[in-house]
């Protein structure tokens, strides 16, 4: 299932083929990365890493083109990296530096004037929740703090696109929630486009609007999470206070098919538009005296959608 490309793309990849010796990591790969927060999903060895490497200009493709905000990653690598921030999966810091020195230095490397870089370093460190540790050496940081400082160094120069690689790696549940909040805040309130590569589908579901699924070096699926988790035929989930045979009969009499039943929970399906089906279900409840506790369009989880895509 491949959705049509959106009109405006933050990154565009056309017929990209990347080889490592005889091994082909990406084969005629094309994708339009939309604005907003995009999840990059795929099994191990699918080509996600190679895609990120290529977007950063680390890997030279055998053929094809890739652009980020109109700049070619092959011909204008430095320009592209000035607009992009990378938060790598691995621990990475500059030894012997305090948090603020490290982030300011990263800003200078990106092209910021020294004074601006220092001022901005204080801002992003504060934003990342490391305000009290700004003068501590980065090597003394805990895993969670190191994750945050990686995000701060990626953000310091105000990139238009952030590449986050396993951003919640090694974080405790609270730290993970904080990090996801931070990512969501960056992508939804600060006008920064984000690509999150993660194996944790719940993280993607919580932060991203769109996902790109890569399998065996090819684009397998792309679209908004809303669309991808939709179930064909648009069934509706109904939860009653108690199981109600009269309500069941009334529903069946209206031609609504009960697909599954689990105590007071029913999944029903009908050809009519969702609004009309909902109205019919409520009318049945009213006429039979059944008390409706919940009513919603049934969706599958992102995990189910992902497994379907991978198995396809």
């Amino acid at each position: 299932m491949i959705a049509p490309p959106p009109l405006e793309a933050v990154a565009s990849v056309q017929d990209l083929t990347v080889r490592y010796g005889r091994f082909t990591a990406l084969q005629n790969f094309s994708v339009q990365v939309p604005h907003g927060c995009v999840g990059l999903l795929g099994p191990n060895g699918a080509g996600k890493t190679t895609l990120i490497k290529t977007l950063l200009g680390f890997v030279k493709p055998a053929s094809g083109t890739a652009t980020i905000m109109g700049a070619s990653v092959i011909k204008e690598g430095a320009k592209v990296r000035q607009r992009v921030g990378l938060m790598p999966e691995q621990d990475c810091h500059l030894p012997g530096m305090s948090a603020v020195e490290y982030v300011a230095y990263a800003g200078e490397l990106a092209g910021m004037p020294q004074a601006q870089a220092l001022r901005r370093a204080h801002e992003v460190i504060e934003y990342s929740g490391l305000g009290e540790a700004r003068y501590r050496k980065v090597e003394t940081f805990s895993t969670g703090m190191k994750q945050r400082i990686k995000l701060a160094q990626a953000l310091v120069h105000g990139p238009k696109l952030l590449l986050l690689d396993e951003p919640t790696n090694g974080l405790d549940p609270r730290g993970r929630e904080d990090m996801l909040d931070l990512i969501r805040n960056i992508s939804h309130s600060k006008d920064v486009n984000v690509i999150v590569s993660s194996h944790i589908l719940k993280d993607i579901e919580k932060t991203c609007d769109t996902v790109i699924v890569v399998v065996k070096g090819q684009l397998r699926m792309q679209g908004s999470i809303k669309e991808l988790t939709k179930i064909q035929g648009q069934p509706v989930d109904v939860e009653l206070k108690l199981p109600s045979p009269p309500w069941r009969e009334a529903v069946a009499a209206r031609g609504i098919q009960i697909v599954s039943e689990n105590g007071p929970k029913y999944r029903v399906i009908h050809e009519a538009p969702t609004e009309q089906v909902t109205r019919m279900l409520l009318e049945c409840a009213k006429s039979t005296g059944a008390e409706v506790r919940g009513l919603q369009v049934a969706t599958k989880s992102l995990e189910e959608a992902f497994l379907e895509a991978v198995a396809f």
Partner: protein, 341 residues
């Protein structure tokens, strides 16, 4: 860390960004400032100039004594002779040789400074995955290599140049009457061979560092390489001295005067003597200054006690070649990095 997000008033940066070129200077500047802020660095810089300090002290005392003797013992024949000797000491000084000795006696300390500044420059980056930070910014491999190179080279060169410059300025102001200005050209020449020596130290240090992930191990390896080659040179010197002793003895037995030419009968020894990091540095210094050695601390020049200068072009070529090889190793080790395991 599980503290709440402290500040959500973040704004996107919309300030100026310099064009994505010449990022090497940012790296060099950071490393140089870091070295210059280290008080141990300046301690070693001061120590590296110990020869100049000693020779200037000797000259100062000699001048003082000569002045006192002239005033107090005017008309006394013995005192006049002492004064004459002291003045002769000053005139005996070959100023260009003092640059060579100042450089030569500081060698070990220059190596320590190279370790202090360069041992962790790349090795620690390897350990901390710092390349990911550098290469994900508009910073190329070339920027990284050049930036690191000059980040080590500038502090090492400064350590060599500062004592020499002070000696030069002091000499220029104080010893013009004793032939100092005649050898003023030796100062830029000294800066030249110091630049090359700093290049050699820096290249080897960075090359070794690029192969490792621990700055300390890189430092130990470089120190070991330096010491082993130096021990070899020292052994050659002992062998040379024995050989010269025999030559001197033969000359005496034959009723002849020992000639400095005898020294040049041992080209293999000469080559071997300069086959170390120190040897190359000192060899180039000798070749560029056009000196063979001797006259350290103002002592009279005695033939056969020092090994003549090597061929300057060959020495320069050797140093350039070795530096290039280690820089190539460094360059090869800076690879496009893994983004995801």
């Amino acid at each position: 860390m599980s503290s709440p997000i402290a500040d959500l008033t973040y704004r996107s940066y919309d300030g100026p960004l310099n064009p994505p070129s010449a990022r090497w200077w940012v790296i060099t500047k950071m490393m140089t400032l870091k070295a210059f802020r280290n008080r141990f660095y300046w301690l070693f810089v001061a120590l590296s100039g110990w020869y100049y300090l000693v020779i200037l002290t000797v000259i100062f005392i000699t001048e003082l004594l000569a002045a006192q003797a002239t005033e107090q013992l005017a008309g006394n024949g013995t005192a006049a002779s002492q004064v004459a000797d002291q003045i002769q000491f000053l005139d005996r000084l070959v100023w260009k040789l003092q640059y060579m000795h100042g450089f030569s006696y500081g060698q070990l300390i220059y190596m320590v400074i190279a370790l202090l500044v360069g041992a962790g420059a790349v090795a620690n980056d390897n350990r901390a995955n710092a390349l990911l930070v550098y290469l994900s910014k508009p910073c190329t491999r070339l920027d990284y290599v050049v930036g690191k190179f000059f980040g080590v080279w500038i502090p090492v060169f400064t350590a060599m140049a500062v004592p020499t410059t002070l000696f030069f300025l002091y000499g220029l102001l104080s010893y013009r009457n004793h032939g100092f200005t005649m050898y003023a050209w030796a100062y830029p020449a000294a800066l030249g061979f110091m630049a090359m020596a700093a290049t050699l130290h820096t290249s080897i240090m960075l090359g070794i560092g690029s192969l490792l992930k621990q700055g300390r191990i890189a430092g130990i390896l470089y120190g070991t390489l330096y010491m082993i080659t130096n021990i070899f040179t020292f052994m050659i010197l002992i062998f040379f001295n024995i050989s010269m002793g025999e030559a001197r003895e033969s000359a005496r037995n034959a009723g002849q005067t020992f000639s400095a030419e005898a020294v040049k009968q041992h080209p293999a020894l000469q080559t071997a003597f300069y086959s170390s990091i120190d040897g190359l540095n000192i060899g180039l210094a000798k070749a560029m200054l056009g000196v063979d050695g001797g006259n350290q601390f103002g002592l009279p020049i005695t033939p056969g006690t020092f090994i003549p200068a090597p061929n300057g072009f060959v020495t320069f070529g050797m140093m350039a070649g070795i530096s290039l090889i280690w820089l190539l190793i460094f360059w090869k080790r800076v690879r496009a990095v893994e983004v995801v395991n």
